[in-house]
Amino acid sequence: MATTGTPTNLTQKTRGGIGESTLRPDGTLKVTGEFAYSSDMWHEDMLWGQILRSTVAHAEIVSIDTSEALAQAGVYAVLTYEDLPTEVKNYGLEIQDTPVLANGVVRHHGEPVALVAADHPETARRAAAKIRVEYRELPVVTDEASATAPDAPLLHPGRDDHHAGHVPHPNIVHRQPIVRGNADEAAGRADVIVSGEYVFGMQDQAFLGPESGLAVPAEDGGVDLYVATQWLHSDLRQIAPVLGLPEDKVRMTLSGVGGAFGGREDLSMQIHACLLALRTGKPVKIVYNRFESFFGHVHRHPAKLWYEHGATSDGKITHMKCRIVLDGGAYASASPAVVGNASSLSVGPYVIDDVDIEAIALYTNNPPCGAMRGFGAVQACFAYEAQMDKLAKALDMDPVEFRQLNAMEQGTLLPTGQAVDSPAPVAELLRRVKARPLPPERQWETTEGADVRALPGGLSNTTHGEGVVRGVGYAVGIKNVGFSEGFDDYSTAKVRMEVIAGEPVATVHTAMAEVGQGGVTVHAQIARTELGVSQVTISPADTQVGSAGSTSASRQTYVTGGAVRNSCELVREKVLEIGRRRFGSYHPAWATAELLLESGKVVTDGGEVLADLVDVLEGEAVEIEAEWRHRPTQAFDLRTGQGNGHVQYSFAAHRAVVEVDTELGLVKVIELSCAQDVGKALNPLSVIGQIQGGTTQGLGMAVMEEIIVDPKTAKVRNPSFTDYLIPTILDTPTIPVDVLELADDHAPYGLRGVGEAPTLSSTPAVLAAIRNATGLELNRTPVRPEHLTGT
C-alpha cells in the first residue's frame, strides 16, 4: 500500500513553502496607505450609523425621548431597547449578559443606549446628541471591597449563568482556586519568605483601525455584514439570534482589519449596524472615531495580585501562595477564561510543587475588560517575576541563576497536575538573553556634547546625563497556546486543487481573521509545501466555510494552519488516487513507493518523477473542506483546579537595559532583547515581527500605557491618543531576537504559537531593570514619573 507524506526536506523543494520568509501580500499596501480597511468601505445609498452612549457609569434610565432626533432632516431611524426585534436582547462570548442596547439601566461609562441612522455621519452624530436620556444615578462599585460589600449593588441580580452557582458573591464572575501539595507545610521548610502586593493597570489594545463595518440588507430578508473582527463565526452565533434570523441569512465577510490584540473578540458595532440596515432597508456603515473606540471594546483586566514565595537557602523554591483579583468591569466578556489562565499560569515557568492559588474576576462599574494579548498570563507574570527578583535578593543570588535553578523543563507538572509534555527550554532562554553583550554605557556622549535622543526625555531635552542611572533586568514567562479548559477548539479549511491556464493551482479558503498575525502567508506556504504548487490563492475569509476559531490565544498557525495542512493532505491523497487511476499501470512506484507532490509533479520519495500534476488533474478539480482538532483539553476542577486544561505552551525570556533619569523619573529603554522558542518558524520574518511587536506592547505597559478610571465616578479620564500613550519609534529600543526551534511533536510541523509570549516577560523585565537602576520597590505598572520621584 502506498503512503503519502510531507516532504522531509521542507525548505528546498517548492519555493515559498514553510520555513521561508515570504512577504505579506498586504504589506506594501499598508505602508503606502492604499490598503482598504473596514472603515474605507462604501456602498451606494448607504446610511451612517451612530451610537449614543451613556455619560455615567451606573444609572437607571428614567426616560428616553427620541422625538427631536427623529425629527431631524436626514435621519432615517432612531432605535432603543424597545425596538429590538426578538426576545434575545443580550450577547456575550461565554455569558450572554451584555445588552445590545441598555434596558433601563446602564452599568458602565460609554454603554450603548440608542442608535441613529442618517444620510451623513455628522447628521447622525448631531441627531444622537438630541436624544434626551434622563438618568437616575446609582452608587458605583469599582474594586473588590466595594463590589463584595454586604450592601453592594449587584451588577447582574438573579444570575443564572454556569458560574453563578460556585462564586462566593454575585459580583464575582468566576473564581478558580488551585491547590496542589501543601503550601503551609512547605512554607515551614523555607529559609526565606517574600511576599508582595502588585498592581497592574488597565491596558488598551490600541489597535490603529477603529471598529467599523458595513451591513447591507439582502432581498431574502437577511443581511450581508462586512466587518473587521477576530472570529467571524463567534460573531455570527451572537448576532443572528438578536436579529431573529437563521445563521445562514447573516452572511459575514471579513474586511480589512487594522489590528486586534483581543479587542475584537467581543462584538462592537456588528448588531447595531445590522439592526439599522434591516430597519431602514438600506446599507448602514458604522465607524467609531478614536474617542469612541476607547469605549467600544473591552480592555485588559487591571489586577491586584498578592503573592508569597519561600525558598531554601540553597535557592530552591519551597512554595507559592497567591491571590489574583481581576477587574472584569460591567460585563463578563472573556473574564472566566482570563481567570482560568491567570490561576493555572500563576506559578510561572517554575517548578513549585506546593501551591495555594486563587483567582477571581469581579463585576464592577468600570469599563468591561476581556481579551488582550497574553490574556491573564500577563498580569501574573508581572507579579511572579517581581517575586523571583525579591527571592534572589533575599538569598543573595544572581536573579538569572536563581530562575534557572527553579526553571520548569519538559515533564514538569503544572499546579493543575498537567505535565508539560514538550520542550520547555526556560533555563536556556534565560542563558541566551544573559549571554548577549550589554550595549555600551553612556551612548549619549558625543564629541559635540550630549545627544539627547539617546537619553531619557529624548528631544524634550530634560537631561544631558544628569541623574541618569543604568539598570538591567530579566524576566521569563509561560503562555498557553490555544483555547483551554475543554473548549472544542477546532478549525476548518477548504482546499481546492485544479489546473488553471496550464498550471496546477491551489485555493485555500478559511474563515480565519487576518488581523496582522500573518496567517495569509502561512496558509499559502503550507499549501505550497504540501501540494507542491507555486500558485496558491487565499480566498477572502467569510462564513461560507466552517469556523476557523478565533485569531486569539496564539492559536491560528497551530489550529487553522493545522486545518489547512490536514485538508491539503486529504487533497493530496485524492490527487494521488486520481493519478493511480490514470497512470498507475505505467509505473510500479504508483503502488509501492511513498509519493509526494513537489514542484508541480508527483514524485517518489526517492525523487523520481511519475507524472505532471497538470496531467493528473486534467479536467478534474479536487476540493475538500474538513475540520481539524488538536488534542482535547479538560476543564479545571472548580475546587482543586486539577485538570489537563492546556494544549501547548509558549516560552519567552527578556533582558531589559534601561536608563532612568532618577531626578525626573523618566525612563529610556535602551535595549530589550528576547529569546523565544517557537518550535518551528513557518515564516521566520513574520516570527521576528511578532516577537518585536509583543515586546513593544509589553514595554508600553511598563512605562506609559494605562486607561485611567476615576475611582469615584468610574468614568474614563483619558480616552484619546493624546493622553493614552503608546510607544513611538523613539521609545522603541533595539530588540535583538534569538529564535529557538525545539519541535513540539504534538503540533503541526512542531510549531508553537508565537504572538503572545513576548508580551508577558517584556513588562516585568523593564520593571526589573528600573528597580535595578533606582533601588525602588515599584509594585505597580505602568511606572509613572511620580512613582520614581516620590511625588
Binding site: 452624530r125 526625555g457 524634550s460 531635552n461 537631561t463 525626573l664 529610556k668 512605562v703 506609559m704 521609545d731
Partner: protein, 296 residues
Amino acid sequence: MDFLRPASWEEALAAKAEHPTAVPIAGGTDVMVEINFDHRRPEYLLDLNRIGELTEWEVGGENVRLGASVPYTAIMENLRAELPGLALASHTVASPQIRNRGGVGGNLGTASPAGDAHPALLAAGAEVEAESVRGSRMIPIDEFYTGVKRNALAADELIRAVHIKKADGPQQYSKVGTRNAMVIAVCAFGLALHPETRTVRTGIGSAAPTPVRARAAEDFLNAALEEGGFWESGNIITPSVAKQFAQLASGACNPIDDVRGTAKYRRHAVGIMARRTLGWTWEQYRGTARTLEGAA
C-alpha cells in the same frame, strides 16, 4: 459653520471685524482637534493660509519678527542661532507632520498653558503684534496670557507676528512628557541668559493656569549673580544659589493634579529643570566658545 478665506491681511482684518466670533485657523493643529472632538463649533472659521506674509520672518538688529504662521520646522531649521530657546521648544512639538503645519501664532491664539512655545517666548522676551481694522499694537508677552486658554487679544484682533528678542546669551528649554516624542507637556521650563542686561529670564509651562515667569527666582538669581560678580568672573554658580533658584522656580508653579501628572510632581520637575537649564546655559556662557545654540 462658514469658512472665510481672505486673500490678504486687510481682508482678514475686515472679516474679523465683521465676525468677531470667527476663529482664525492656520495650521489647524489645535483648532481642528477641537472641532473634531466637538469641543467647539465656531460660527465662522477664518482661514489665514492664503496670506503668504504670515509664513515669513525677518531678522532685525534686536528682534526676529516671526510671522504668526511660520511653522515650527522652519524655526528649527533657520532660526537656531537667533532663537535657540524657541528652536529647542519647536523640537518638542508633536510629530514632524504637525511641526510642518503648526506655528507660534496658533500657540498664542489658543493660549493653553501646555503650549510648547510659551516658556521660550517668556524667557527670551517677546511682543505680540496684534492688529485689527482699528490699528496695530504690540502686546508684551508678560501681559499676553490672561487666564486658562485666554489671552489679551480683543475680539476683532488677529496675531500678525511675534517680535522675539534675538538671543544675546545662551538659552535652554526642557519639557517633561511621559513619552520620548509626540507628547503634551506635563510641565516645561525655558531659561535665557541676557548678558547685555545682566539678567536672567524664565518661562514655565503647564504648571499654572497660564504660562508664567518665575519672577521671584529671576529676581533672586539676578541679585545673586550681580552681587557675586558672576557675570564678570564667569565663575561657576555656587550650588546653594542654584538650589535656591530651583526652589523659587518650583514655588512659582500653581499646578493641578490631572491624568498627565500630579501637582507635586510638576513642582518638583520644574525645580529640577530650572537647576539643570541654569547649569547648561551658565556653562555655555562661561565657555570660550560661547555658543548660543541649544544641545539638540
